[in-house]
Amino acid sequence: MLKLTTQAYCKMLLHAAKYPHCAVNGILVAEKQKEKKKEGHTSTILCVDCVPLFHGTLALAPMLEVALTLIDTWCKENKYVIAGYYQANERIKEVRPNQVAEKVAARISENFSEAAMIILDSSRFTMGCFTPILSIYDHLDNKWKCRDPSTDSFEDWTEAQKITSALLESRSYENLIDFDNHLDDLRNDWTNPEINKSVLHLC
């Protein structure tokens, strides 16, 4: 089962906060597991980070392919694996995954069987972040099934809540870089080292 670290959760929400009037999406990455798991033993996989991809139009193929290939290479360097996909829809009342989400998530699950698809529920998005605002879908029996909402999906929910709220208050989302920003100016770093530093600093 996939769990989220504070850094992954934070950056997803900052991405959505930066573009409140757009749909946004991105990729989640997890640390590569070295040992082989015993049959039937479900382990916890930690999503340690996320890469914000696009805002506005999410459904065009070429840039998505470029992004996935680049992220894949970056993952190999850092012993990560692409483990999931997140999306926030343009309309806050739309909280279900659409065609784009299912397609990308399906592609990811081809290479990583425990991949998750996450849909952000912007209607519950507050500065205080008192409840997790996402729906996590796991790929079971060829269908995407929504998990029961629970703070168990987080490595440390209290920490995630506190830090995300603090970064929202300080408007850190203004400095979040997504892949679109990178394509506009190559100097923009989609690994967001500055924000990662802020998260660590607040831990």
């Binding site: 409140p20 009037h21 749909a23 139009t57 459904a59 065009l60 193929a61 070429p62 840039m63 392919e65 470029v66 290939t69 680049l70 992220i71 894949d72 290479t73 970056w74 190999k76 360097e77 343009e90 309309r91 009342k93 739309e94 065609q99 784009v100 408007r171 990178h182 394509l183 506009d184 100016d185 190559l186 100097r187 770093d189 989609w190 690994t191 080292p193």
Partner: protein
């Protein structure tokens, strides 16, 4: 809390000019517009002259984005007082109702504008936006199509239909809109590049070749368009790797892809000059290009 002028050490003239830049370039950085605009209005209204009215409009719309109904309301009142029978101000009042999700009341306002002036495009556009906000996307597209048939060459309408079509993955419709937009704006590299992306997404060899041509065209119009460069690389690589092409086509596309790859590398080198952090991106690009060349050959 420190004022904007104190925090950023700017004069009121610089703040006013920044607002104008954001207005002219259609930025939607509403939080910043509210910060700067509110201070400008509160502290420097007398110095702004006639600019103040367009600033009230800009700040009001930004305030709606930020749920600052107090600010939106006061801006609206000032505008109502100055321009009591204006359709433009009425439309702003409608937008406020939309922000409060009072869609029926907003529609009534827009209908009254259209009764007075059936050609009022702003009111038409707002009614369609309401349909979108309510999730009635197909109705919105239908209304837009009807409107397009009545009007000649309305760029923003095509862009709107394009946006909706892309959102709903109606690629054929998106392509059609872009064809119209490219016809009336032949020097716009963004339309060329977006058209190429749509064609690429539609898939198939013919569309890929079209995509490659339009990515190349976009680059001719603006050689710094990274999306066009990447797109050229991807489409040429895929064509070269396809089993259905002749040896000559394969050779040509390998050439195009190689050229694009070297340009991409060069762009990353220029961007990464002196910055250690960018080495990671650069390496990733190099490896990506290498791995694609392997699958190509």
């Amino acid at each position: 809390m420190a004022s904007v002028s104190e925090l950023y050490d700017v004069t009121w003239e610089e703040m006013r000019d920044k607002l104008r830049k954001w207005r002219e370039e259609n930025y939607r950085n509403s939080e910043q517009i509210v910060d700067v605009g509110e201070e400008l209005i509160n502290e420097h209204a007398s110095k702004l002259g006639d600019d103040i009215w367009i600033i009230y409009e800009q700040v009001m719309i930004a305030a709606l984005d930020c749920s600052r109904d107090d600010l939106a309301w006061s801006c609206l009142q000032e505008l109502k007082r100055q321009f009591p029978d204006s359709h433009r101000v009425k439309r702003l009042a409608g937008m406020r109702l939309e922000a409060l999700e009072r869609y029926d009341d907003a529609n009534k306002l827009y209908d009254s504008i259209l009764q007075d002036d059936p050609t009022n495009t702003a009111a038409r556009k707002r009614k369609i936006s309401i349909l979108r906000a309510q999730g009635k996307s197909s109705e919105a597209i239908r209304e837009l199509n009807e409107y397009l048939e009545q009007c000649v060459c309305v760029t923003y309408l095509f862009r709107y239909v394009l946006f909706l079509s892309s959102a709903l993955s109606s690629y054929a419709k998106a392509a059609f809109c872009l064809e119209e937009l490219m016809m009336t704006n032949p020097h716009n590299h963004l339309y060329c590049e977006q058209y190429a992306e749509v064609k690429y997404t539609q898939g198939g060899l013919e569309n890929l070749e079209l995509a490659r041509k339009y990515f190349a065209q976009a680059l001719k119009l603006n050689n710094r368009n990274m999306r066009a460069l990447f797109g050229l690389y991807m489409s040429a690589s895929h064509i070269a790797g396809s089993p259905k092409v002749s040896a000559k086509v394969k050779k040509d596309n390998v050439k195009y892809a190689a050229w694009a790859a070297s340009q991409i590398n060069r762009a990353y080198q220029l961007a990464g000059r002196g910055k250690k952090e960018n080495k990671c991106s650069m390496k990733a690009v190099e490896e990506m290009l290498e791995s694609m060349q392997i699958t190509m050959s």
